[in-house]
């Protein structure tokens, strides 16, 4: 697989099979993909940031919910200890490697984007696709509308 993207779905299927899980996870798949054209030029659009990192150091067992916090200044640190990032290849000590607040503030200052929502949103990862689609995604939409955001940048860990 020299230089090829990692087949994460296949890799995780084999990994959890080796752990004795007998039913393979069914990943979300759709034929269509909704598409909204830009309502205004990027230089006039207000952007909101959405991350899967968390505001506190969760236990894997903690129930988790949509949360929001001020973007500027952002929290001193975010947490991702419960997420499946590559612990052998890299680390998450530099917040800028997964939470792009500095480049976004610069983009606003330069006029590359029209504005930034005052807060960002954390969406919890969930094995339940139904819960993400029916509970968390509508909650994120509601908060984006409260922010009067025109566009959203979503950054998964």
């Amino acid at each position: 697989m020299n230089g090829q993207p990692v087949p994460y779905m296949e890799r995780s299927r084999l990994y959890y099979e080796a752990q004795g899980f007998t039913r393979a996870y069914t990943w979300a798949q759709f034929d269509d993909a909704p598409f909204s054209p830009m309502p205004k030029p990027l230089a006039e659009a207000k952007l909101v940031l959405v991350t899967t990192a968390a505001l506190y150091d969760r236990e894997a067992s903690d129930p988790r919910y949509v949360a929001s916090a001020p973007l500027n200044p952002p929290p001193e640190r975010l947490y991702a200890n419960d997420l499946s990032w590559d612990r052998e290849a890299t680390h998450m000590e530099d917040r800028g490697s997964y939470f792009p607040v500095a480049p976004l503030l610069a983009a606003r200052a330069d006029g590359r984007i029209g504005g930034l929502a005052a807060r960002f949103h954390c969406v919890p990862t969930d094995y339940s696709k139904r819960r993400t689609r029916e509970v968390d995604a509508p909650e994120i939409l509601k908060r984006c509308r409260e922010d009067a955001a025109d566009i959203a940048l979503l950054v998964p860990v």
């Binding site: 993207p5 798949q29 590559d86 890299t90 800028g96 480049p103 969406v123 939409l141 979503l154």
Partner: protein
Amino acid sequence: MCHQTVSLVARHLEANGIPTVVLGSARDIVEHCGVARFAFLDFPLGNPCGKPGDATMQASVVDAALGLFDSAQAPRTTVPLPWRWENDEWRERYMQVSAENREELRRKGEQRRAERQALRDSGRVRQE
């Protein structure tokens, strides 16, 4: 799982009139789900905005992702970003199953199932 979660959220925002860009590193999961605009950084999971400690790269990665808002004309637009990790060893190693770790994984699975059952029994799970 993070990539599936944001893909589902991005689809919901798009369906309700908010254009999105997903900036991530698990191409198969995002494309399997299907999103409007995807900036793909082919790095180990955890650093979708660029290498730790490299603020210049991070600024360039985010700028390239922002460019997708204007350039994408149709859904399922994936733009592979040009940056490369310093080696390819991580590609084979991540979630690898081998003769050496098979027994450890089996034990880990047993532990996970026991923990999940305990959570269900105690009601410490989301109810929605």
